[in-house]
Subunit: 339 residues, 2 copies
């Protein structure tokens, strides 16, 4: 049985507006009345209907969080940070996994708009015309968890990301600095935007050091441990084996190391492996992965902040935030053996 302010009003022989005022801590209510209302509200187990309220106030106090996959440690930390901050401000978060499926993405985004959502934090893939159109036409504040692309520059959105290209580039540069010139690349699917940017960083560092790109050394296999194994195997099957491997994320690197060690390659003596992400496990003794640290918590927290800013200030200027990464040098990388 669900009670409404009407029930309280009838019970106390008051008007519903007085009840509403009392419940909302409005000043224009006598202490006595307020107390009576609050008491009977409790007794009757009254629960406000937030939807009805939103209908009038035009605020739902809900925000949407669209990400590719919540089981990805990167996104789960972002999701924690976002929810943490936002719930403190009285917002609830509707979350959805797109799994990089454009259709799911569109559907989820649309449903969010239909919910009268107050803001959206999202990690979209490549936006098709439909999505571009929806984003352009809504005035719901939006924060992208990735770079804003060329064709999206006109959108009124904020964004937060680290410089994927520069971060990947510096990782590869580190390998080159150690003397490596045959550097393998193990990446995720081509669909992911960060994948492209990281690959660009790889290419740029090769180019800056006059190393020719060898497509035999580039393998896009997927994003988890098992794919790291596959990637390593493909690379080591070459006649001219690489002396170092750069992977697009730590799980790939860990998988690669696992395969290498299982096949009697020593890491880093025979081959260096460089990760990207700095997961907690990457610091373990047995793994001790050289990698790039990504400030996941900071990204989640600041994404929420950015959104709150946009929600507060009617037409705040969209911000484009770039956070810093840094190289974490451990013992999965070393000079090449023939150096």
């Amino acid at each position: 049985m669900v009670r409404t302010i009407k029930d309280i009003a009838r019970e106390l022989d008051l008007s519903i507006s007085t009840v509403s005022r009392a419940l909302n801590n409005n000043a224009d209510v006598s202490e006595k009345t307020r107390k009576r209302v609050l008491e009977t509200a409790k007794e009757m187990r009254y629960q406000p209907n937030v939807n009805a309220r939103s209908l009038i106030t035009k605020k739902s106090n809900m925000i949407g969080l669209m990400l590719s996959d919540i089981t990805d440690p990167f996104f789960s930390e972002v999701a924690l940070g976002v929810e943490n901050l936002l719930s403190k401000e009285g917002y609830q978060v509707i979350y959805g996994n797109t799994l990089l499926d454009a259709e799911k993405e569109r559907r989820f985004f649309k449903s969010l708009l239909e919910r009268n959502i107050d803001g959206i934090i999202m990690k979209p893939g490549k936006l098709d015309d439909d999505m571009l159109d929806m984003i352009e036409c809504t005035d719901v504040p939006i924060v992208f968890l990735r770079d804003v692309l060329e064709e999206e520059q006109h959108l009124q959105i904020s964004s937060i990301d680290f410089d994927q290209t520069a971060a990947a580039g510096s990782a590869v540069q580190h390998l080159i600095d150690q003397g490596h010139r045959r550097i393998g690349y193990v990446g995720m699917s081509k669909q992911a935007s960060e994948s492209k940017a990281r690959y660009r960083g790889y290419l740029e560092s090769l180019h800056a050091n006059d190393i020719a790109m060898n497509s035999q050394y580039v393998h896009r296999v997927g994003g988890s441990i098992v794919h790291g194994r596959i990637g390593a195997e493909k690379l080591m099957k070459q006649t001219k084996q690489p002396t170092a491997i750069f992977t697009e994320n730590d799980l790939l690197a860990i998988g690669a190391i696992d395969w290498l060690r299982a096949h009697a390659y020593r890491v880093p003596e025979d081959i260096s492996v460089m990760g990207f992400e700095n997961l907690e496990i990457s610091g373990l003794h047995q793994i001790s992965l050289t990698t790039v640290h990504l400030p996941r918590k900071e990204i989640g927290y600041r994404a929420a902040k950015l959104l709150l800013n946009m929600i507060m200030a009617a037409n705040a200027i969209p911000e484009r935030v770039v956070v810093k990464t840094n190289l974490v040098i451990r013992s999965s990388t070393a000079k090449p053996c023939d150096y």
Copy 2:
């Protein structure tokens, strides 16, 4: 600019009810009218207001997902499974992290009810009277992601879990079967309900084998890698060191192994380590953890199923589902050296 059915009605000189019917694929509308409505709806970028609809239909098509911490791999997989299935059925999921804080738990739960939520999947801690009361009084379908306790038996809720006690017990039994009698225990905080149940399993297996419990061997330190290190250190500081360690989760086990190897203990030759959870990384060569496999995906999926059942059938009988676990024997455990 957000359009309503009113706008469409005015534009087409129709009544809002006709527009509503057309939009909702109601039979009682001429093909011609429906087409006109659908077209102008698209043109005007009309978006239904789902909140307004819920007000009438009493269905919000939202469900709540309350868990302790989304970055916990166990819960992130559950969260993925839940969202996946539910989004297919047209539901959206509001998620929140309680971080085992009773206050957050209560607040989040309450906000869910105020949203006219259609159902809730939750992993609560110990329920205080407030929570018990709220759950008792609502008729929102609820699924617990843990065992239903004594004092909760009367609640109309479904639940899904594996048998924590039996699973932990079988893990410890495996150690005993190998000849271990001094078995350390590294656990999370006492607050967590699963922690209690797993500890009980440990005790039961000791008892069943006439092994006296030694409180020096029991350490509750926390739930992640760093805590595993701490736990291992505390155990090995004993004069009479254990020959095996059982941990409440894989990350603890991984941390323990890390500390042990860093301090020149061989695993499993000098000391065995048993995990609990079977994370993806636990299968890695360098880790190769003996552990208990928990069917996370299945739990998420079936939790969503249970909830859907309750939502569909008005007063379905609550179900209590117990899923199976199984021991995964790898190479972090062996006979004790003095055996």
